[in-house]
């Protein structure tokens, strides 16, 4: 009976894994095949495997620049988001002050606006402040759009930290600043890791703001670089797949590094 149950479970897991990982494996196979080969047979194995496509994408298609831009914009944005978001969340969760909930509501309510509504005015503002077509401008926009969600996730976690801990730290002689860095933040690490992963993946793949706010080749991020393989009349499917695989590597690295913390963050409070 136990064997049957185990087998059923394994079959279900195998089906789900192939469903979830299938597109990834397919893109991975296509990244090693030329567009002509792909058109001939969409699902064939890469035989021979064209590893040289990765070096072509990296060197001949300016991927090194796109990649560096993406790293720069996303890492700086995630860093600011994490520090500012955690500070704001700690403040909103921990301190009683007038309009605390009003500020929280205003911050959080901004996520109800779809990007299409704000993007034209954002474009105008960035042009006005000389931030259009700059990595700094895009970084600031990324921070602004992700900050409410970051605060939302972190605030609910910070609010669960017992107030006695902060009182104990105060009695130990720590200032509010030190309490944040040495008590609140280390305890909230699982939640912080969750926001790091979510923000990193979301911003790494972000296309809409980037395509509107960046036009210069030197400032393009990876999603825009991949778009360049989409021609008006013809799509270089093979190179798109290669570009996707290059783009996906940092996401996998970040996820692998933080995943354990992510799970802790998502299940925090589930058990006592």
């Amino acid at each position: 009976m136990a064997i049957v149950r185990r087998s059923l479970l394994l079959i279900a897991l195998a089906l789900y894994t192939s469903f979830a990982a299938g597109p990834f494996v397919w893109a991975a196979m296509m990244s090693l095949r030329t567009t002509t080969e792909i058109h001939r047979n969409h699902f064939a194995f890469p035989n021979p495997a064209h590893w040289d496509k990765f070096s072509d994408a990296w060197f001949k298609s300016n991927y090194a620049v796109y990649f560096a831009n993406s790293v720069q914009v996303v890492v700086v944005a995630v860093l600011i988001l994490t520090v500012v978001g955690a500070m704001a969340a700690h403040c909103l969760a921990r301190y009683k002050f007038r309009f605390n909930r009003v500020i929280y509501f205003i911050l959080f309510s901004t996520i109800i606006f779809p990007p299409q509504i704000t993007i034209i005015s954002l474009f105008q503002i960035l042009v006005q402040y000389g931030l259009y077509n700059s990595k700094l401008g895009l970084t600031l926009v990324y921070v602004a759009i992700q900050l409410p969600l970051t605060i939302y996730i972190l605030e609910s976690f910070f609010a669960r930290i017992p107030a006695d801990l902060f009182d104990a730290a105060r009695m130990d002689g720590y200032s509010d600043w030190e309490i944040f860095w040495r008590v609140a933040l280390p305890i909230a690490l699982p939640a912080v890791a969750t926001t790091v992963i979510l923000n990193f993946i979301l911003l790494w793949n972000e296309f809409l703001y980037a395509v509107v706010l960046i036009t210069e080749e030197a400032n393009r991020t990876l999603p825009l670089g991949i778009q360049r393989f989409l021609g008006d009349t013809q799509e270089d499917v093979g190179m798109i797949a290669t570009g996707l695989m290059i783009a996906i590597i940092p996401v996998i690295v970040v996820y692998a590094f933080f995943s354990e913390r992510l799970i802790q963050g998502m299940t925090a409070g589930a058990v006592k």
């Binding site: 017992p162 006695d164 801990l165 009182d167 104990a168 730290a169 105060r170 009695m171 130990d172 002689g173 720590y174 030190e178 008590v183 280390p186 305890i187 690490l189």
Partner: protein, 366 residues
Amino acid sequence: MAEVTLSKIVKKYDEVEAVRGIDLDISDHEFVVLVGPSGCGKSTTLRMIAGLEDITGGEILIGGDIVNDVPPKDRDIAMVFQNYALYPHMTVAENMSFGLRLKRFPKAEIKKRVDEAARILDITELLERKPKALSGGQRQRVAMGRAIVRNPKVFLFDEPLSNLDAKLRVQMRTEIKKVHQKVRTTTVYVTHDQVEAMTLADRVVVMNHGLIEQVGPPNELYHSPRTRFVAGFIGSPAMNFIPARIEQNGSGLAIKLNDKLAFPVPEARKTRYEKYAGKNDMLLGLRPEHITEAHGHMEPGKIPFDANLEVTEPMGMETLVYFPLNGTQICGRVNPKAGAQDGAPMQLAADLNNMHLIDAASGRVL
């Protein structure tokens, strides 16, 4: 080590007065327990001593110095919290030394103090563990260890045992008492559990509605309560209050409970209660242990009466009996071999030598 003085302490939250002008002198080395129901202001008082709450009015002195505006860290006090407040990301040793590290104590001194506190609390083998790997009792010990290593002038405990199960609570109560006997630091301890208050304190401070009802050693509070609140709060099961009237009965006095039942007041109490003769709205206060089974030969002051038992609760060493009297549910304590049974009549005896007479209107014990 130091004495703590509270002088006319007031705490207001907007318009709500949580603490309403209390005065209290706590001597050096003394173990004082603040006890009272939820919302009586005991925790607020403790937090004001700690410096975690601002004081609306009055003065707090620690070791003779006014500390109203001194931040918690500079008051030289240590506090043990209800939910232990251990830093979950630090080991036991790190938790205990967190405050000392900030004050830049030499490493050797920190280690010496942590080891000494761990030895006192018997947690030496737990020093490298994280709080999540500890049981409730062990966490409580670590929380105490964190207070001990600082060698403060005053220890503050905020309901430290309320998260523990009943058995562990009794065990930890003894531990706290032992620790106090060893370190002799002035201690202010807050609890809502009167048993904890009675067993731990040199003096108990009973609080109600932001005011101190009575201060005194546990036995004094138990045997000579000054108000109905204290009489009812201290002791478990609580004191019985029976509506009564005091009347002249020939040359003596009697406590009339109803048309059928009147208890003569013992000679020793006559002069004390004489002036209240003819007064209505009185309450006869009798602790359950002063309502026992009746014997053939009873000492003076013990008066037999008949009761219809509603419920009996065998406790092993005694049986609690509950019966109605004058519209009130009364609790008595009888010998388990006295044959008390649910729903059966029983002759009981009220020991009026230990009676209290209470003015129902003012709540004052007369």
